[in-house]
Amino acid sequence: MFDLFGTKLASRLLLGTAQYPSPAILAEAVKASGTSVVTVSLRREIAGGRAGEKFWSLIRSLGVRVLPNTAGCHSVKEAVATAKMAREVFDTSWIKLEVIGNHDTLQPDVFGQVEAARILCDDGFDVFPYTTDDLVVAERLLDAGCKVLMPWCAPIGSALGPVNIMALRSLRGHFPGVPLIVDAGLGRPSHAATIMELGFDAVLLNTAVAKAADPVGMARAFSKTVDAGREAYGSGLLEPRDVAVPSTPTIGRAVFS
């Protein structure tokens, strides 16, 4: 079990709900992933339309916790307002904080992240800040009151997987007691395994599952590698070395010449 803000979660995989081929496939993928937490957003509702209500009732039927995001916000003010509106609609103090700084890379505006995180933490939110893998920014976010960190391993939707293992390793080493969730950039189940083997507490992904030819199968595959990576981390991984080491004992070897 894994603890986030006092909530025990069975799965270390957090799943996004966007870009699936259909609501039915989204629901099946969520079930196949075994996830306990899904991310959701807020968008403009069309008058008289009931799209938001339909989506919300589908999510509620899945029996998972929701983590609302502030995706698409480019300023502190927008992100704070969106967080407050999400708290009211989804009835949760959890918020995935995103203040986007660059249109092309969807890189977080880390200065805005810190400022918004301080406002929201002071207001009683449980903030899940999306951030880069920068160690100093991570420290600032913790200073602002964050109890969890969500560094990217590559740009959102890029499917590149961990591009800077050293930075991720450094974060894990510096913050042994802080739940660390890699959010964004995963493409393959093996990427999730690699991140979990580094000792990260969880991964959050969306596109890699939603855009797979078979999202349900891919959700199941990620679920397995997240578990495998976690168990491997807990079991003590062998350190690589540059020379061969025979696995069969040399003692007692027969001499034939």
Partner: protein, 164 residues
């Protein structure tokens, strides 16, 4: 804008280039709906600048406004008036109105409602799955009946949506 005097139906390439440009400007255009396409030819002189000409006593022509007709109309009207003895009215129509003008989710609307709660009713928003903001500030559901609206207010009504 294509330099051509073809005024037939829109070509695939024209439409594609226009929509590509919109999508490149902002990905949200990917969700925009094409309500109508139209093709027309803009009247233009070779330098794309308009002309106000007085041909003979009593005949003034204004032509070649190209793609800026709406924008240039007041200036052209003034020039034409300068060539004639017309005096343009300086008074405006009285600014009376019955309805309030608001921007709701980016759309200009005229409504009779005077509070946020009555606005939601008038616009057929029912239920508890949406959140509201007025001019960038969040308005919780409980505060909506006391929130009085003013002309030009910007209202956001947001509801759950897929997210990553």
């Amino acid at each position: 804008m294509i330099e051509s005097d073809h005024d037939g139906p829109i070509t695939a390439r024209s439409l594609m280039e226009l929509l590509n440009a919109a999508y490149a400007l902002h990905p949200a255009f990917g969700e925009a709906e094409i309500v109508e396409t139209g093709v027309g030819v803009r009247p233009a002189y070779p330098d794309n600048l308009p002309r106000v000409k007085c041909w003979k006593e009593g005949t003034i022509t204004i032509n070649g406004l190209y793609r800026h007709g709406f924008l240039l109309s007041p200036a052209m009207a003034e020039q034409a008036a300068g060539l004639s003895s017309i005096h343009l009215p300086t008074t405006h129509l009285p600014a009376w109105r019955l309805k309030m003008k608001l921007i709701v989710n980016g759309e200009a609307l005229e409504v009779e409602a005077t509070t946020l709660a009555t606005l939601l009713k008038e616009l057929d928003y029912e239920g508890g799955w949406f959140a509201t903001a007025l001019n960038g500030d969040v308005v919780p559901a409980a505060a909506r009946p006391e929130f009085h609206l003013s002309d030009g207010d910007r209202i956001e009504i947001l509801s759950p949506m897929q997210g990553g």
